[in-house]
Each structure stands twice: as structure tokens, then as C-alpha cells.
Symmetry: T
Amino acid sequence: MRVLIINGPNLNLTGKREKEIYGATGFESFLEELRNEFRDLDIEYFQTNLEGGIIDRIQAAEGIADGIVLNAGGYTHTSVAISDAVRATGIPVVEVHISNIFAREDYRHVSLTGPYVAGIISGFGLKVYRLAILALLA
Amino acid sequence: MRVLIINGPNLNLTGKREKEIYGATGFESFLEELRNEFRDLDIEYFQTNLEGGIIDRIQAAEGIADGIVLNAGGYTHTSVAISDAVRATGIPVVEVHISNIFAREDYRHVSLTGPYVAGIISGFGLKVYRLAILALLA
Amino acid sequence: MRVLIINGPNLNLTGKREKEIYGATGFESFLEELRNEFRDLDIEYFQTNLEGGIIDRIQAAEGIADGIVLNAGGYTHTSVAISDAVRATGIPVVEVHISNIFAREDYRHVSLTGPYVAGIISGFGLKVYRLAILALLA
Amino acid sequence: MRVLIINGPNLNLTGKREKEIYGATGFESFLEELRNEFRDLDIEYFQTNLEGGIIDRIQAAEGIADGIVLNAGGYTHTSVAISDAVRATGIPVVEVHISNIFAREDYRHVSLTGPYVAGIISGFGLKVYRLAILALLA
Amino acid sequence: MRVLIINGPNLNLTGKREKEIYGATGFESFLEELRNEFRDLDIEYFQTNLEGGIIDRIQAAEGIADGIVLNAGGYTHTSVAISDAVRATGIPVVEVHISNIFAREDYRHVSLTGPYVAGIISGFGLKVYRLAILALLA
Amino acid sequence: MRVLIINGPNLNLTGKREKEIYGATGFESFLEELRNEFRDLDIEYFQTNLEGGIIDRIQAAEGIADGIVLNAGGYTHTSVAISDAVRATGIPVVEVHISNIFAREDYRHVSLTGPYVAGIISGFGLKVYRLAILALLA
Amino acid sequence: MRVLIINGPNLNLTGKREKEIYGATGFESFLEELRNEFRDLDIEYFQTNLEGGIIDRIQAAEGIADGIVLNAGGYTHTSVAISDAVRATGIPVVEVHISNIFAREDYRHVSLTGPYVAGIISGFGLKVYRLAILALLA
Amino acid sequence: MRVLIINGPNLNLTGKREKEIYGATGFESFLEELRNEFRDLDIEYFQTNLEGGIIDRIQAAEGIADGIVLNAGGYTHTSVAISDAVRATGIPVVEVHISNIFAREDYRHVSLTGPYVAGIISGFGLKVYRLAILALLA
Amino acid sequence: MRVLIINGPNLNLTGKREKEIYGATGFESFLEELRNEFRDLDIEYFQTNLEGGIIDRIQAAEGIADGIVLNAGGYTHTSVAISDAVRATGIPVVEVHISNIFAREDYRHVSLTGPYVAGIISGFGLKVYRLAILALLA
Amino acid sequence: MRVLIINGPNLNLTGKREKEIYGATGFESFLEELRNEFRDLDIEYFQTNLEGGIIDRIQAAEGIADGIVLNAGGYTHTSVAISDAVRATGIPVVEVHISNIFAREDYRHVSLTGPYVAGIISGFGLKVYRLAILALLA
Amino acid sequence: MRVLIINGPNLNLTGKREKEIYGATGFESFLEELRNEFRDLDIEYFQTNLEGGIIDRIQAAEGIADGIVLNAGGYTHTSVAISDAVRATGIPVVEVHISNIFAREDYRHVSLTGPYVAGIISGFGLKVYRLAILALLA
Amino acid sequence: MRVLIINGPNLNLTGKREKEIYGATGFESFLEELRNEFRDLDIEYFQTNLEGGIIDRIQAAEGIADGIVLNAGGYTHTSVAISDAVRATGIPVVEVHISNIFAREDYRHVSLTGPYVAGIISGFGLKVYRLAILALLA
């Protein structure tokens, strides 16, 4: 099984800034742990700050990935275009958020991608990626 | 570790009605599977249709449970009182929903308990309970 | 044919308080008239002030009642949980209101159960129960 | 007793179009049944697609009808002018809707005439006219 | 100078119904007084319950009336179409309301025709027509 | 192919008033051009200021027209009744607006008929009728 | 009869600034005209930029004025306190606006004093004061 | 004089949890103080987490209590049903809140029971119960 | 202990106007009672109709009063400026309203000063001042 | 005449996914047809998933294209930045949508670019591009 | 060049209270620095807590000041009257705020004076006055 | 001190288009002036139409710039992602707008980046960049 993790804007800063919200672990080292834990899986990772870059990647995953773990960051709450890409793809998508979006600003309580994903996991720190892979495996 | 699963209104119908939304497995048989999988855990289960009954149980769990998996059903979207109970308790709570609340009616996109739980898992069918326990274990 | 009448919060006060809104007849004596008029029917009556109590009763009616006449009182306008119970049941439900909900406060113009019932009758005093039974019979 | 039934816009299509919503019976044949059932009553029928035509008819009914059964169709949700006519008339008005307005689009959940009628019956198909007459008789 | 008074829906009931709001004088007898007072003016009067009828009349006034006194009744608050007719006409229009629209229901506080008239006079009973003519004369 | 063009309120003023919005060509002379261009088509034209008149005409077109070009003018933004008529008809309807409704007042950005038409063409002056016929032909 | 004219904030600038909205006549010279026209009346004039100053003056008018013509300027749309003063006074108040408040910014379409005055005259330039006095006289 | 104090959901936790909001004194010991201070009064105390339980108790107080001090907790902001019970009772009710509801979350600024109580006291800690009794005594 | 009572706009009319809302006792005579009851206190009283006058007084109280009882009248619902003054002061402020603000117009349900006061007492007539002093004393 | 067609996010999937909404024809083969039909025109085509990429292209078209056909896809409803680019350009822009935006989700009923384009054509499938070119030609 | 600085409500407390928001420097000493820095300018300073006082001063500045630096404090967000005064004046006005209004409560994100000033500077502490003078000088 | 100026979408058109809003000076020549004026500073300039490009640049500035002057253009009002980048960076950011955002369309009155910047300067033309640098220097 091939899993594609897509991280959106500012998630390359995980572990470097706003640690009280996103924790102190960098994503790269976490990714290593993840690959160690799921040795049977082919886990690909992609990060971009570009809204359209996320769309490009979702489209390109067709036939290449069996599941997508998507953390669209700030675009989660504003992007009809990414929402359309998620709806159009044939690959199951699990939406994750490192922090609990309901515990933050009002504008983060809305997810435009939410209606088109298989499910949402929000608020357990980096563990949400691990849980998302487990959800895809089941 | 002692885990308390609290199911709110109409969740006793799981597997019996609206199977296109909630699936065909009854909660009791699923619970058995869960206990088999997590043999080291003491998993207690409680279901009620009463808003205040959920509050009573959360309060009574103090000192008895180490984690709560809460599916408050329809009360999720309307109950300030349950939200207050979750905020007051010292036990970590994971909120789960069998269906994806963002893929349903607008009034289900809001969670009053959301700001006070450790995290939310929504939309993978009964598997959300399994993922929630994993989240509590981590 | 077995008909179950469920009355929600404060409807036990009918005939005792706020007579300018709900009229001067007590529900018990009205119920007697109703049973006299519809001698072929088995009319069961249940009143509770508990939101979850209404849900319990709707669930318990499965296989026992052929039609439900539901006056959920103040819960009509706020309860997603009762709304879910009405949607889940296989028994046809007729929603009634003694007073005309559109002629009262704004917050009473909304019915959360409304979308899932067979029909709504509002505003003719206790006669709404009689009309509801006629609607179920037809 | 003289009853005037007023049907508003598009209700002349009943039985011809959108049968999944309004049923397969034409209003004229239903009217015949109704007159047969209530032989003691003088049932007059009027249909118009004109907002002002409904107002004209309500005004003209003064002294001629003892009760009005009003289905203002789409004007129900938008017409302050018809609402004013209903409020001004001395004749009791029962508002009916063939389909359940709470089970349809949001803009149909509002009734501008609602606050000024004796009561509302919505959602049992053409039977609502029969129930409305019974309500007027009581 | 030729003045056209246009009265909209239900204003033919003035003096007959809802006298606590609209007063006890019928419009016809009031009109006579008005014509006596303004003997130099050619005062034409038109009443209709039809939204489109008001538009027809405004259009037909072109070249025939020098000023319009418009009481569009309930259509004031809902009709984009009449608003468009007022905007399109070259004749100055004074908007009047017998009752004080700000002292009534919220939905009467809005005037769609308001932005396109010369001015608004609301709330002095039938005197508003007299004041409107004085405003047109000035 | 028989095409019916329905123009709503104030559109009889095209070419006479508000030329900066609607242009300087009268609809009748434009209609002549249109008939010259589409000689194979039977183009019928109807204008009314009455909301109900539009509904009457849509209903009467059944079996007589193969396509409707509808410019409901100000009723576009307020009429549930015309919207219902469009939904009920079996004839394809193309909605047109001479001016660009998104470039005007906020209340013109909403179209109640919009959800039920084949498509919308807005903002190219009288050319929208020509484009609408081309859309029907295709 | 003693009439008190109260002008609120910035109305001392009438005739000096924003003449395209408020006209070119200064209020003092207009006042002279007004007193000439209504020689039988005792017309007192008061202007202040202070919200509380308007309240003080309304209260002080008790027993001294028989009618108040109030142009509260910008406070019309925001002042609950002046609204309360108008409601409390026993003197009839006519609300006036030099410009047509419905033809200006949205926030000027609301009048907090509106519900408590005898009537409103808006939009004919300084003539509104003359019409208001006529309304008080009638 | 007999006073009934009704405490709603989570108020049994007073003194145990969220002390920064609700203070460190348990309600039972505070109650003792209160009874000592008002020795002439018969002070009864009732706490429940059930919405309907509060309604039951208000209804049962008829003829038994002379005044009710009601802290409906989280139900204050959401319960039409309790609001109806307060409106129906003949006993004067004083609404209290331990914390200042205007200084907390937006959804706590609304009180559905508010319109039907004698008065509201909010924000002085447990002292609000003492002040409420004084208000009832006066 | 020195207590400063500040009354805002129109509260000088207490006992004179709108007695059905504010009662029949004038504030001055009530003040005398209050001073008799609390002989140990130095109770100062200030009334103004000016928004800024209330701010001036709150600022001037620094070091002179130990507690403020504030009834800002209509400014309660609109004044950010007074709200800022209350927040800035070091003196505890108790907000009072003679009538129950939740039982009146919607715009009175909001208090801009509310978030910054020690507590709110609303709806027991002039007694609220007495209760407020007791709250300050405690 | 040089026409530039700009397609926004996910429109490269036309003919491949969600065919029930966007049809079964791929854009490339459709483009060929279009060029065959309009042999005199120089039709350039550009697709990007990047919001800023659309802006870049609109700016670069200056002096190179005589008309733009813009389908900004999901950005239509959210992008102030593209809206600004359309407003700034000197080239006439026709906005098109393959599906009828009024027949879809609420958030698609809004067009931020709408106010600045020459006109909008929505809902006839790929034919909208053909109609747009005709509109530009006229 | 003559510059008038107008400070609104509570700004006389700068340096005394809420120093974490407004800083520790008193305005008078800051003013001295400012006058030292801009020795060529005639800098006049005015502070008032009265809404109308600000209007009085803006009007009085006509012909006396060449530029106004306005910090209307809490009135910024609520005062149509001051907004009208700013619009009416012929003197350029620069709006300043010591704190960043977008980083504070929602109701401070709105500026009623904003649309009529030359520009806004918000959030650099007392430096905003210095920057405003520089902006006026340029 | 190293200052980075970031200009967002369409700001490369400054001086070329919409000169009535943005002025006639091109940014490049203005930049030269700026560098001449602040010879001690290292002023870097970056413009992009890409939302994600702005984020990339803010992140890349870490350790390289001592202050950022950000004009995010149309993204200011819609981008949660840029807002997150501003919040995450350790470099002080000054937000500028060439035109006065409060004097333009409603949707420009909102700034998502506003809460996280040091301050905002809006509305003095290109001078805002100069003032922003002065603010950073202070």
C-alpha cells in the first residue's frame, strides 16, 4: 500500500515555531519514526505553501497512491479549489490537523475539504498522521 | 488503563437503523471485538439517551476511568451543559463520531464539546472508537 | 391500529396554566373524549419533561405502535437528539402543536423534528391531536 | 357553512407535474370527492397564479364565506401583502400545504401568513384540505 | 398640476378594517376632502392589489401626471420590480405610509422603493397624503 | 423549433429609460432583427409586469414552445412562485439579464429561478437573447 | 402652540458644507422664513452636537413645548439613550431628515427613535421642517 | 417563607473543580451558612444534571415554595423547555449565576429563562444566592 | 466605605414617567432611604444624560470612591467608550438595571460594560441599588 | 482577433472525473472543435491550478489578447486577488462556468470576479466557451 | 503648518492605566517630545470624553488647523455623528490608534470614521502620532 | 538594519493601471527614492502574485531581514495561510495598504493578517512604505 502525506502552508515549520501549538518535534524526524513503524508501507511526503501546489499533487497521485493523508493547513478553511480537488479524486483522503481545530479561532472550525474526505482526525499532535494511516489500513 | 466509552442518544440503534449512515454492526458485538483486541484494557461501556445522564457519568468517572471516549450524538451540537462537564473533568476525553459530521447537515458541523476534548475523530464508522483508544494509549 | 401520543415538557400543565395559550381543558379529560371518539383504536398516552425520555419512548414504540402523535413542546425547537430519533424510527410520526407556532416567539418558528415527520398540525388547540389521528388513519 | 378554498400559484398543476412531491391526483377530481364527503357544506374553489388575485379573493369573501382554506403556494414565503390581507379579514383562515414545508428548501420553512391564521396543516398530500375543513367545522 | 395617488394592496380596506392602525375614515371620503382642499390640482386616484398593476400605472403616468404619491402597502418591503419602476420613471414620487413603519414589525422597517423616491412621509394617518401633495407642490 | 421569449416587469421600457444600463435599442426593433437572423425559428414574444402573468405564460407554453428565454426582471430576485413554475415546466428555460447582475446591487446577485434553468447568460446587453437562442439550438 | 425644533450633530453646518446633500440654505435664514410663515406659532430652535444635550432638551421641554421637531442627525441611527428620551416624553415628536435616509448608506436606514415618534418625514431638503410643523398642527 | 434553590448541571462540582471560575467553597457548606443567616426561612436545595429534572422540580414547587432561586447552569443558554416552565409557574423566580455571564463566552450572554424571571443576579460568586434571597424577601 | 452611584440618561425621570417600567418612587427619595439604611457608608450620587459625563465621573472617582454602582441606562447597550472607562478604572463596579433587561427589547439584552464589571443585578426595581451596595460590602 | 481561454483549478480533469457535472468531453478535444469552428480567430489556451498563475496570465495578456474567456473554477468564489486582476486589466473578460453555479452549493452562488467582467455565461456544459467567444465577437 | 491633535475618551489615562496596552508614557510628556521634534509646526492638543465635544472641536478647527490627527478612542467604532463631522470638514484628517485595533476585540475592527479620513495608522504605541504628522507633512 | 518589502498580487501594476486608486508612480522608481532616503538600510524588494509565494518569502526571511513591510494586496482579506505565516515568524511585520481599505469595498475592511502584525498603515499612497520603515526604525 502506498500512502501520500500532503502538508500545506507553514507545516514545514513544525518543531521550529509555535511549539506550544504544534509541538517540538520536526516533521522530518517524525516521518522517519512513521516509516519505521509501518515498514510494509510506501510512505511518500510532500509539503508546499502553494494552494495550487496541493491540487497539483492530489491530481498527480492518481494511480500512484492508495490513500492520502491531507493536512491543508490554513487552506482547509478557505479553499474551494482544494475542496474540489479532493472531491474529484478517486483516492480515499483522510484529513488531519495537529492541533484541535475546535479549540482554536472560530474561522478554523470550518473545513471546506471536510465534506469530501473519508474522515477527520484533529488534535493529538503529530500522532494524527499515525492514526490516519491506521484508518486507511483498516 | 481503564477506558470508559459513553454513547449518547440513538447510538443504541447502531446496526439496526439507518445502516447507510452508521453501518450494519451492532455496538455490543463491536464492543466484544474491541475488548478482544485491547485485552490489557478495562473497557467500560455506557449508553443513555439522557443529556443529564451523560453528565452524571462523566462526573462519576472521576478516579475510576483514565480516559473517556465520548460520542454525545445529537447533543454534541446543542449541549452547553455536557460541554461544561467535559471542561470540568480531569480525565482526558476523545470525541468520536461514526459518520463524518462535516459531510452531513450544517447543524452537525458545530461541536460544543470540541473545544474541551483532547481531539476529535470523525467519519470512519465504528473504527473511530478503536482509533480513539489508540490515541488515549499514546 | 395502535396510536401513541407523546407529550413533552410542560404539557402536563395543559388546562392548569397559561390557559390563554393552551386552553382550559386538562389533557386527561380530553384523552377520554378522544378514546370515546376513536373506540376502534388503541390510544396510549405518555408525558415526560425529559428530552431523553421522549427518545426512549420513540425507540420503545417500535413494533408496538402503528403511529405516533408527537408534541415535543419546547424541545421541538432545540433538540437534534429527538430529531434523530424521529428520523430513525420506522413508525410514521405526526407533529402537533396546541398553539400556532408561527404566531408566537421567533424561536418557535423552527422545528428540528419537522423535516422527518409525515406532517405538521399546529394551532387549533387540543383539536390538533384529533386531526393528527385522522391523518394517521387516512 | 360556506367554505372557500383558495389555491395559489402552480397549484393548478397538481396531479400533472412533480407528482413525487404533490401526488398524482388532480385537484378537480379531488374537489369532487371533497364535496361528496361534506355534502352539507358549500365548498367554493378558486385558483390563481396572481399574488394580488389572492388578496382580491380574500377581500371579496367577506360576508360570503364562513371559513377559508388557503394554500398560497410560493407566495406563502414572500408575500407581506397576502399576509396583510389575512390579518385584515374577519373570516377564519386555515393555512395548508400539500407537502411538508419543513422537509423542503430552507426558504419554505418561513410562512408570512402563518402568524395570522387559525392554524397550519402541512404535509399529508391533498388530505390537508380535508383536515382543514374538519378544523373549521370544529 | 396633475397628481396621481397610487394605493397598493389592502388599502381599499382603509376605514373598514384594522381601524386601530389605519384609522376610521374611508379613503374615498378622504379623497373628496383632499380635492376640495387642493381645487387647483387634478388629483387622480388608483388602487390595486396587484404588484404588476402598480408598475403598469407608474409607467402609464408618463406625460400624464406631474407627481405621484405612492403607498405600495405590503409591496413596499418586498418588491424589487416596483422599486425598478420607480427608479425608471421621470416623474417625482413621494412615498407615504399611513402608519409609522418604524413602529411596526421589523420587516416593515425596510423600503425597497425608498432609495428612488423624492422623500418619505410615514405615520400621521391619512394626513400623509396631504403632506405629500404639499411636498410635491413646493 | 418554437422559442418563447418572456420579459418581466419594466423590460417594456428597454430603449426608452435608463439607457446607460439597458442600452438605447427598443425591444421590438431588436426582436425584428432576431427574427431575421433566425428565420427557421418561430419566435414568440410576451411581456408583462405581473408576477403571476409570467407563471400563466410558462404554464401555457407546455406543448407549444420548445424552449423559453426568460428575463424575469426584478422578480428574478424575489419570486419563489416563478421559481416553482420554472421547476415544474418540462420545457428547457434559459435565464437572461441585459445587464450584469453581479455588477449591480447586492440584492440582484441572487436568482431564485437560477437553480432550475438550463443556464444563465447575463451582462452583454440585448445580445443575451441571441446567445440564449443559440444555447437552446445547440 | 409652542414648537421646539431640535437639531443634532453637524446640522449647524447646513448651507455651509456638503451642499449637494443638505442644500445651500443656512438653517438660521430658513428659520426666519419659517417663523414668518407660521406667525401664530412660538418656534424655538436648539442645536447641539452632544447626544446627552438632545436628551437634556427633550426633558426640559416638558410643559414648555407642545410639539417637537427632532432631527437627531447621526445619533438617529445609534442612540438608544435618545430613543428612550423620546419614548419617555409626553410631547408629540416628529422626526425629520433633510436628505432621504433610504437613499444613503445602509446604516442610515435604521432609526432607533423611529418607533416612538408620531411620524417621520425624510428627504425633501429643509422643507421637512415645514411639513413637520404642518403635521403637528393637524 | 419557603425558598427553593435549584442548581442545574455541573453545579454539584462547585468548590471541587474550576475554582478560578466558581470559587473554592463547596455548595453544601455554603448552604449551611445560608441557613444559619436566614433562620426564619425554610430553604430547600435541589441539584440535578437533567434538563427535565429542573422542569419537574419547578412544577412540583407549586404550593410548596414561595420563591425559587434558579441557577440552570448551561441549560440557561439553550433550554426553551425550562424557559417555558419558568413562564408557566406562579412562583417568583430569581435567576443567579456564580460567574459573570457577560465576562465569559458569547453563548453565555444569552438567557432563555431571563425574560420570565423577576430578576437576574450574576457574577459575585456564591454571594448571588444570598442576594437572591434578599431580593425575594423584599 | 465610600460608594458612588452613577445614573445615566433618563434615569432622572424615575418615578415621573414610564412608571409601569421603572416604578413610582423618585430616585431622590429612594436615595434618602438608602442613606438611612447604610448609615456607615458615604453614598455619593451623580446623574447625567451625557455619555462622556459618565466617563468623566468614573475617572474622577479614582481614590475617592471604594465602589461604584453604575446604571448607564441606554448607553449600556451601545457605548464602547464607557465600557473602556469601566475596564480602565481600579474601582470595583456593580452594574444595575431597574427593569429586567432580558425581558425587554432585543437590543437591551447586550451589555458592553458587562464584561468588565464585578457583577450585574437586573430587574427588581430600585432594590437593585440596595443589592448592589450589599454586594460591594461583602 | 486573439482570444485567450484561461481555465482554473481542476478544469484539467474535464472529461475524466465528475462527468455527471462537467460532461464526458475532454477540454483538449473540445478546444480542437472550437478552433475549427472559429478559424479566423487565434485561440490560445492556458490552464493552471495556481491562483497566482491566473493573475500572472491575465497580466501577461495585455497587448497580446483582445478578449479573455475566464473560468476561474473554485477561485471564482473566494479570490479577491483574481478579482483585482480582472478589474485592472484593459482586456474585456467573459466569465464562464460549465455547470450552472446557481444549481449547486450555496458558496458557488457568489462570484467575486463577476462585478468586473463584461458578462457571465453559466450552465450549458462546454458550450459556454463557444457562447463566450460569440459574445466577444459581437 | 498648524496641526490639531484630538484625543477621545479615556486617552487622558495613557501612561496611567492599562499600560500593557497603551504603554507607560503619559500623553503630556510625549506631546512635549513631539513639539521638540517638530519645532516648525504649531501643534495644538485637545482631549475630551464627550462624543459631541470631538465634533465641536473638528468644526471649530475650520480655518485654524491645516491637519487633524484624530484618535476618537471608543467612539471610532460606534459614532456616526463623528464620522459625519469628519466627512464634512475640509481639513485632512489622519486617524490613529495607539494599539493595533485588528489585534483586539472584534468590535474594534470596525472604524466608522475610516472611510472619510486620509489614512489610518494603528498599533505602534504613541509613535502613531509622530507618523501621522509625517503623513500630513508629506 | 535589513528591511524586506513584500508586495502581493497586482501590485506590480502600480503606476500603470487604476491610477486613480494607486497613483501614477511605478513601484521600481519609488523604490529607488526610498533607497536614496534610507541609505543606511538594506532594502530588499519582492513581488509575487502567488499566495504561497508570499509565505515562502516570509519563511525565508528568518535570520536575513530585521523587519518586513507587507502589502499582501487582495490576499490580506482572504488568506488564513499568510496570516499563519505572519504569526509564526519572529520578524516584526508592518502591514501597509496604498489606498485606504476602509474607504473601499466592504470585503476590504477585514484584515486576516492584521491581528499578528506590529501595526497597520493604510491610505496615503506609496508614502505608506516610507512610514512603515520609519515605524520599524523607531
